[in-house]
Amino acid sequence: MPLNYRIPYLDIIISLSLIGLATAVLIAAKDIPPPFFDPIGSAAFPKYTAYLIIFLALVIGIRSFLLSRLLAPRSKRGFKPEPLLAAYTVVVPSLYVLCMNLEWASFRIATTLFIFALAGLLSRFDKRVLIVSAIIAPVFGFGGQYLLTEVFYMDLPQ
């Protein structure tokens, strides 16, 4: 089997991020008042959890680096991954939520536009998908609002 020097960068990045998160938790835990009726109080659990996270993150990070030579070669996927489309599924929903959060659009309008836009982007503006989503989008936007508020008595962002 040929040598493989692949370094698992994601493991190392995640380990470092987790150490950062645990440090933030330790700092925030300092503000929690001391226990007043039980031996450990509210700060103990977050503190010891943060210590454990730091310990495990160090072990994972160091081990990933040391064992990088032993990693099996990357298996071929048989399809081309689409990181840009994956980014759209984070960015477009975030804009959709932001629109309603800032009260720029009601649920009906925002949902109709969101479904049409994201379906179009994910299909790379395939005509058939655009036509079908132009029908589906208002059904979910306007019909969905009616069904959820009038039948299921749920609150929706206005």
């Binding site: 994601l10 509210s42 032993l70 489309l85 984070v90 949902t111 609150d155």
Partner: protein
């Protein structure tokens, strides 16, 4: 007597209809690769807020049963397990379908699923009441050590490395900590944000981890194309009596394995089917035929993964510990409906718990009928274009997260945890321990603090109280065994020194 009343209840029109809708929806979603029972259940929970709690639980349980079985369709015809639990079915189901016998492969799987479900249903009814009675003896230390054992167990058995499993479980614990601590009313880890005062609610976290991360992954893999095997006209799925008779021992053995693995806290159906498949192969007269379209492989995998669903309900009902990540959603839904699973459930909500157990058996029978009559049609539509599905699923996420508290903050939590889930998944951190850790964090901390109050700050009861000591020792043994196994696996992986130079 209670069982008969429950039977009468689940056979009445509304509960029966909800179980039917749950099972049918579960089969459909379970058959679509990339979606799953967990996603469907998490999206459905908010729709149940206005429902009667028993009907809501029956609907969600039906979805669970349906989705485990629905995975069989895509595993057999597309070589893509609709749900992770159907992974082992692809090894023999797809080759058999390729050999021109897709109907036989599905019929074996459907029959085995039915028996697996029924056998675990019998275990559920037989074991849950006495175990619940036994759990009355549990005090804070017993609960704390049991949760500890569950976390170690799920972290060590989850796919991937033990360290990553443990880290995932601990991150789940951490995610449950911000906000108001119920033990003493202290606010903590809010980082100065007012919205963090209520912490991260259960439903948005589940939607983020189970659903949002999956739809981002689906978009990333949108080019993944599958070529399905079509079933011939007139090819039946109804299992033949001779086949059932021939595989009876395998079915019973695999169902018992599935139920037992399900009872162990925190372990999912995929492990059940792996263990049952491995044992079936070991004891088979024709082990070399496994993986080439062998009847025994399909039967073992399918009876075990369906039996797991029933087994996993046992710890959920009796001690309030989810038997699998999907059961964490059922647990969350019960809590949202003011039903607290645990030893007192038989006393406080006896009608609900008996309906759940009898309903589970009925759900398996409905699953069998739906699969026999509709699997052929479901198989035609499982390859839905993701461009339609992804936006619609997100709209349901938004509705689910917002409806529980009317806060847009919770919708942002869905997106945030979706990204967390995606990165963890890409780095091969199992997500099951995260969810279980999140769900059990509250119990773990509250019980530890109560225990320490009673013992005046001493941890000794962990080893001096017999039941707690058993759980502590079990946790240590699982941990030590997992470390040993991982060390052995790594040693075997090392290439010869000469190749390293």
């Amino acid at each position: 007597m209670e069982a008969l009343e429950a039977l009468q209840h689940v056979l009445s029109p509304y509960p029966f209809l909800w179980i039917f809708i749950g099972v049918a929806g579960g089969i459909f979603v379970g058959a679509i690769p990339g979606l799953g029972g967990g996603m469907l259940m998490a999206l459905t929970v908010p729709l149940t807020f206005s429902m009667d709690s028993t009907n809501a639980v029956l609907l969600l349980m039906g979805m669970h049963v349906g989705s485990v079985s629905g995975g069989l369709i895509s595993a057999t015809l597309l070589k893509m397990p609709g749900t992770p639990s159907a992974m082992m079915t692809t090894f023999d189901g797809y080759p058999m379908a390729q050999q021109g016998k897709p109907g036989k492969a599905l019929s074996l799987g459907v029959g085995a699923s039915l028996f697996g479900g029924l056998i675990s249903g019998i275990f559920l009814i037989a074991l849950a009441p006495p175990l619940s009675h036994f759990a009355h003896k549990f005090g804070p230390w017993e609960y704390f050590t049991m949760v500890l054992m569950a976390l170690v167990l799920i972290a060590s058995i989850s796919q991937g490395s033990l360290l990553k499993g443990l880290m995932s479980a601990i991150l789940g614990l951490l995610a449950a900590m911000p906000g108001l601590n119920e033990s003493d009313g202290q606010l903590r880890l809010t980082f100065g944000f007012e919205s963090m005062g209520d912490g991260f609610n259960l439903l948005p976290v589940l939607l983020g981890i189970f659903v949002m991360s999956q739809i981002i992954k689906d978009a990333l893999e949108i080019n993944k194309k599958v070529v399905g095997i079509k079933m011939g006209k007139g090819e039946g799925i109804f299992p033949k009596f001779n086949e059932w008779k021939q595989h009876l021992f395998n079915i019973i053995r695999s169902s018992c394995i599935g139920t037992w693995v399900g009872i162990l806290p925190g372990i999912g159906a995929s492990i059940s089917s792996m263990v049952a498949y491995g044992i079936a192969k070991t004891f088979s007269k024709t082990p070399r035929r496994f993986g080439t379209g062998h009847d025994e492989g399909i039967v073992a995998a399918e009876s075990a993964n369906n039996a797991n669903a029933g087994g996993a309900l046992i710890p959920l009902i009796t001690i309030g510990i989810p038997g699998a990540p999907v059961d964490a959603i059922l647990l969350g839904a019960m809590i949202m409906h003011q039903v607290q699973p645990g030893p007192l459930l038989f006393q406080t909500n006896g009608d609900l718990v008996w309906s759940l157990m009898i309903g589970y058996i009925l759900a398996n029978i409905i699953m069998f009928l739906v699969m026999v009559f509709c699997a052929r049609h479901i198989a035609k539509i499982v390859n839905i274009n993701r461009a339609y599905l992804i936006p619609i699923i997100f709209v349901f996420c938004l509705i689910g997260a917002y409806a529980s508290t009317n806060r847009m903050f919770d919708v942002w939590v869905v997106i945030g945890f979706g990204l967390v889930g995606l990165f963890l998944d890409r780095a091969r951190f199992p997500l099951g321990p995260f969810v279980i850790g999140y769900v059990l964090a509250g119990i773990m901390e509250a019980e530890l603090r109560s225990g320490l109050q009673i013992s005046e700050g001493s941890f000794l009861p962990m080893i001096t109280r017999p039941i707690a000591a058993t759980f502590t020792i079990a946790a240590l043994v699982f941990l030590a065994y997992s470390i040993f196994q991982e060390w052995r696996a790594r040693r075997n992986l090392k290439p010869p020194e000469s190749t390293l130079e």
